[in-house]
């Protein structure tokens, strides 16, 4: 009998590790602008995420829910009630604890005019996925993926000044002085030919001179005169030169 009760007790102990589950009752969110007009108010369904939320620079997001034990429905204050903001693209994360009353009621307010320091840096194009982490010593831990939210762009996370040297740096190309420009070769050839022009003049005049003087010279051949020179007429230019 005692052995049987011991076995039953040990079975109970074993099944006791399968602790009771937690759940949320009536989770709701409200987005209102700075002058308290309500922009969007919806209950959050844990089965299907609502459409992504968008917050402007002065909007306020209010989140309310109650943490209850799933089977009995009574309110519970878990040890850990954290809201996790996670940017899937950049990997930045922010954890915000939520104060829960002993009856399990929780309220969280996010005012973009005075954002909490736990928010991660955001970009203008990527949303933050918001999930609720509930952890407790007495109940099974549970994580609820609540919704995606688009927040205004923030300053990027500050970087160490040396951080750039741990990645490839931009390429630097030296701009060289332009190659010495020379005039086109045909022009140089033309002017070289011009330089030789006086030789042409000289040759031409020499030939003319030889032709003009030739009749007035004696032509010798074989120790004898072949043709005597013509007489110079005094009034002609050649005699006067």
């Amino acid at each position: 009998m005692s052995i049987l009760s011991f076995c039953l007790l040990s079975l109970l102990v074993v099944s006791g590790t399968d602790a009771a589950k937690l759940s949320l009752q009536s989770p709701r969110f409200t987005i209102s602008s700075s002058n308290a007009t309500q922009l969007r108010a919806e209950p959050i369904s844990l089965a299907q995420q609502p459409a992504p939320l968008t917050l402007g620079l002065t909007d306020v997001l209010k989140l309310t829910f109650q943490v209850i034990e799933k089977d009995e429905g009574k309110g519970v204050q878990p040890h850990q009630t954290f809201l996790r903001f996670y940017d899937k693209v950049s990997g930045e994360e922010g954890i915000q604890p939520i104060r829960v009353t002993p009856a399990g009621k929780a309220k969280f307010e996010l005012n973009m005019a005075r954002p909490p320091t736990s928010l991660p840096p955001t970009t203008s194009s990527d949303p933050l996925s918001v999930s609720l982490l509930l952890g407790s010593f007495e109940y099974s831990p549970v994580q609820f993926d609540m919704f995606d939210i688009y927040l205004p762009e923030s300053q990027p996370a500050p970087q160490h000044p040396d951080e750039a040297t741990f990645h490839p740096l931009p390429t630097i190309v030296h701009t060289f002085r332009a190659e010495q420009k020379l005039p086109p070769r045909p022009i140089s050839a033309t002017f070289a030919a011009l330089v030789l022009a006086p030789w042409a003049v000289l040759l031409g005049l020499t030939v003319k001179l030889c032709r003009d003087v030739a009749p007035f010279t004696t032509i010798y051949k074989g120790w004898g005169i072949v043709r005597p020179p013509k007489k110079l007429i005094p009034s002609t230019p050649l005699a006067q030169a």
Partner: protein, 365 residues
């Protein structure tokens, strides 16, 4: 637990050891504050308030909340890919803004640092967020094992608790029912810390003109120069340095006060471990340096600097016989030829005998 250390173990002596090239593997104490706790901020690691170890309710398991299974990232170059989750117990720390830190193991997203033991401590957890300067110690931005690559080449690894290395944790079964990765993880961490993995060195660097083989004393501006570096990686299996061609993003800087040229230094095809690039020396003369400064997280820093003077061209280094000077060449040559020709004609053409005869014949008439 050793609370007091020997006389010669002080934070200053540990830092001196690191400067001289010794590698350190340091585990933080979980309960007491020792000199090690005061040394951690020097490495840009911010510790949580005393008495707040790492706590996680996730995943559901039958160990105390302070014993946490953590999954290492497969993309970390220090660890073997697909290492199973490791058991961890100790303190987390936050990373300061220091690029020399190499995160090895980060805390799970659902974990946090707390000192409460029951659900009634929930309010204390929320108040801790408002108290401390860094806010609530929670999330995957906290580190559990972090490496530090000092500028001198030594490595120091900080672990949040010593129990990670214990046999008990290496044997304890994970909630999923598989064996934990503590053995694999700790041997990877020790291999990295003691310069057995991801350790590189530059064997030698050479430079020469394109077409030559030996280096020159000086280079002239606008020269084409080939720069070569040989790099090895330590192979702990063979306990030897082997040529390594796996670096794809190394850069070479040709610097005189500021980098004038920065190009990539790619691995050369053919020779293992050789990285080579050909470039044109800038048209500024001066004293330049070939600088390699390769720093990447987890790898040894590679630094090399070779000084080389660059001079302007010598008087006969400029281009000669330009096409624009053809008229001048022709002019000079034609002047010389003309002079020679004229001299010949003048000296040879003066016929004295013929003149005398002419004078005689005219006189007799």
């Amino acid at each position: 637990m050793i609370a007091d250390y020997a006389q010669d173990i002080t934070p200053q002596s540990l830092v001196t050891l690191l400067e001289k090239g010794s590698n350190l593997l340091v585990a933080l104490p979980s309960k007491k504050q020792t000199i090690i706790t005061s040394l951690a901020p020097e490495f840009s690691l911010i510790l949580p308030p005393p008495g707040t170890p790492l706590v996680s309710h996730f995943p559901e398991r039958d160990t105390p909340v302070t014993v946490v299974p953590v999954t290492p990232l497969s993309s970390n170059p220090i660890l073997t890919p697909n290492t199973p989750p490791v058991w961890f117990s100790g303190v987390p720390f936050a990373y300061g803004n220091n690029p020399l830190l190499v995160p090895i193991l980060n805390a799970p997203a659902e974990s946090f640092a707390a000192d409460s033991g029951s659900d009634s401590g929930a309010d204390a957890v929320v108040e801790a967020a408002d108290k401390g300067g860094e806010g609530l110690w929670a999330g995957s931005q906290m580190g559990l094992v972090a490496g530090f690559q000092a500028l001198g080449g030594a490595r120091a690894t900080w672990v949040g608790g010593v129990e990670l290395f214990s046999d008990e944790y290496a044997q304890k079964e994970l909630p999923q029912g598989v064996k934990p990765g503590n053995t694999q993880f700790t041997s990877d961490v020790a291999a990295w810390t003691f310069q057995e993995s991801l350790a590189l060195r530059i064997d030698n660097v050479t430079h020469h003109l394109v077409g030559e083989t030996g280096p020159r004393e000086t280079y002239t501006i606008n020269d084409n120069v080939v720069f070569t570096a040989h790099i090895s990686k330590y192979n702990s299996g063979k306990s030897a340095w082997e040529p390594y061609s796996g670096i794809t993003d190394m850069q070479l800087e040709f610097t005189m006060l500021d980098p004038h040229i920065r190009t990539s230094l790619p691995p050369a095809t053919g020779n293992a471990g050789e990285y080579s690039v050909t470039f044109r020396v800038p048209d500024r003369h001066g004293v330049f340096k070939f600088i390699i400064d390769y720093k990447r997280k987890g790898w040894t820093h590679l630094q090399s600097s070779t000084v080389v003077p660059v001079v302007p061209p010598r008087h006969d280094g400029y281009p000669r016989f330009l096409s624009a000077a053809w008229p001048y060449y022709i002019g000079a040559i034609s002047t010389s030829i003309g002079f020679v020709l004229f001299s010949t004609l003048w000296l040879a053409g003066d016929d004295r005998e013929a003149n005398k005869k002419f004078a005689k014949t005219t006189k007799t008439e």
